[in-house]
Symmetry: C2
Subunit: 271 residues, 2 copies
C-alpha cells in the first residue's frame, strides 16, 4: 500500500459499547479531515465486569475486523480494554495501536503541581492498576489515588448525569479524595465526560479533569503528522459506525455521547 | 431413562449472571431434596440490554448444556430470557421449561383485590410487555402498571440496596404508582429481592411484593409432584454451579444472592 493510500485510510476506534463515542467526538474535533470506523461491541457490553481473558478475546476479533478494513491506526477507546488487552494486542497486530490510558498519564504528569493524581474508573480498570502502574513506571514521584465508581455508567445511561442523585453518589465516591490534595483527576472511563459538570461540582474548583478523548487525540495527531499520515483533504471523508447488537436506548445514548445523530450505522456479528 | 432415574436427575436453573441465585435460594427451600445445576452466563451479563435474538442464542447454548446433563426440568431464572426467549426454547427442546414470568402473573391474579398490579423490571423486560401481555391474555380485567428501574441492579451490585440513595431512586421510579391504587407489585428481575425492604419501605404497607423464586418454586413443585418426579431421598443430593466467566466481586455477590457460600463452582466456556 502506498503512502498516499494510507493517508486516506480510516482510523479504527473501538469500545465495548457506545461510551467510546465521547472519544470519537474529541478525535473528530482534533483531526477533522480523517475518516473513522467506530466499532461498538454492544453484544458484549460492559467489558468492565468481565475477565481479562474474555476482554482480550473480544478485542482481537475487533482488531481482525479493522485489519480487513485497512485502518492506518486504531484507538482502543475503552479503558478496560486499554488496561487489560493493549499488550496482548500489540504482540499480535502490526497496526499502530493507541490506548486511552498512557496519553492521560503523560498529560497528568505534565500538568500536576501537587503530584497527587486522582483516577476514577470501572472496577476492572481500577483493579488492573493500569494507571498507577504507568505512573510508577515513570518513576516521577507521583501519588495516585484510584477509586472505582460503578454507579456512574448506569446513572449516565439513565440520563441522570447531572441530577442531585448523581451529585450525592459522586460525593460518596469522592469522600476519600478530601484530604489527598489532588489537583488533577483522570476520568478513566469513556462515559464519564458526560458527567464532567457533576464531577467538577463536587471537587475543589482548581482540580483539573483529564478527558482521554482529548489526550489520545493529541497523541494520535502527533503520530500521524510525524509519519506523514495526516489526511490533507476532506474529500471522501467518511465516518462509519458498526455495532455487534442493537441495545435498548441505542439511538438516544449514542447521540448523547457523540453530540449528533449516528448515521452510516451497520449491525454486524463478528464473533 | 426410567422414572426413578429421572427422579434423581438434577433441575437446571439459569440466569444471565448471578441474580438467578435468589431464585435458586427459594427453590432449595421449597424442594429441599432436589439436585440443582445452576448456570450463570456471566460472560454475557446483562441480558437486559441485549436484543431478543442475542438472548435467544445464548439461552439455546445453555439449554444444550443442560440437555447433556440430563436435567429433568429447567427454570429460566432470568426475566429477560423468560420474556423474550421462552417460546423459542419451548419449540426447540423437549425438557419441561419453567419461566419466571407466568407463575408471578398467576399468583398476582389470585391475590390482588384492586386488580391494579405494578410490575418493575429491566428496560428489556418492560419493553417486551411480557407481563402486561400475559395479564391481557387471561382476560380478567386487570390493570398493569409496568416501569423499568435500570438503576436497581447496579445499586444492588454496589452493595447499597438498603441505602438512602436506593430509597431516593426507588421514590423517583415509583412516583407514577402513587395514584394507581396497586395492591400487588411483581419484582420482575431476579436481583430485586435483595432490595425488597427498600422497595417495601417506599410503598404503602398493604402492597404485597411478589418474588418470582417463590412463585416458580411452587409451580415447579406441583409439576414434579403431579408427574411423580419429586426426589424422595436427599442421598446424593448435589448442587453444582457453572459460570461462563469470573467477574469482579463474583464471590461477594454470589454469596449475597444465595445466602451462603458458592461451592462446587466450575468455569466453562460453552459458546
Amino acid at each position: 500500500m502506498k503512502i498516499n493510500q494510507l493517508q486516506n485510510s480510516p482510523i479504527g476506534v473501538f469500545d465495548s459499547g457506545l461510551g467510546g463515542l465521547t472519544v470519537l467526538k474529541s478525535l473528530e474535533k482534533i483531526l477533522p479531515n480523517e475518516s473513522f470506523i467506530y466499532f461498538g461491541d454492544t453484544a458484549h457490553v460492559p467489558y468492565g465486569t468481565k475477565s481479562a481473558d474474555t476482554v482480550i478475546k473480544y478485542s482481537k476479533n475487533i482488531l481482525d475486523f479493522f485489519s480487513q478494513q485497512h485502518t492506518k491506526a486504531v484507538v482502543i477507546a475503552c479503558n478496560t480494554a486499554s488496561s487489560v488487552a493493549y499488550h496482548a494486542l500489540q504482540k499480535n497486530y502490526s497496526i499502530p495501536l493507541f490506548d486511552v490510558v498512557s496519553p492521560s498519564v503523560e498529560f497528568a504528569i505534565q500538568e500536576s503541581k501537587t503530584k497527587n493524581i486522582g483516577v476514577i474508573g470501572t472496577i476492572t480498570t481500577v483493579s488492573s492498576k493500569a494507571y498507577s502502574q504507568q505512573f510508577a513506571d515513570k518513576n516521577a514521584g507521583f501519588f495516585v489515588h484510584e477509586i472505582s465508581c460503578p454507579l456512574f455508567v448506569p446513572i449516565i445511561e439513565e440520563g441522570w448525569a447531572n441530577s442531585n442523585i448523581a451529585r450525592e453518589i459522586a460525593n460518596i465516591y469522592f469522600q476519600g479524595f478530601e484530604k489527598k490534595s489532588i489537583d488533577t483527576l483522570i476520568l478513566g472511563c469513556t462515559h464519564y465526560p458526560i458527567m464532567a459538570d457533576t464531577i467538577q461540582s463536587v471537587l475543589p474548583a482548581h482540580v483539573q479533569l483529564v478527558l482521554s478523548g482529548e489526550t489520545v487525540g493529541q497523541k494520535l495527531s502527533y503520530y500521524l503528522e510525524a509519519n506523514k499520515l495526516i489526511n490533507t483533504s476532506s474529500i471522501d471523508r467518511n465516518i462509519m459506525f458498526y455495532v455487534s447488537d442493537f441495545p435498548q436506548k441505542f439511538n438516544d445514548l449514542g447521540s448523547q455521547f457523540l453530540g449528533r445523530k449516528l448515521n452510516n450505522l451497520t449491525h454486524i456479528s463478528i464473533m
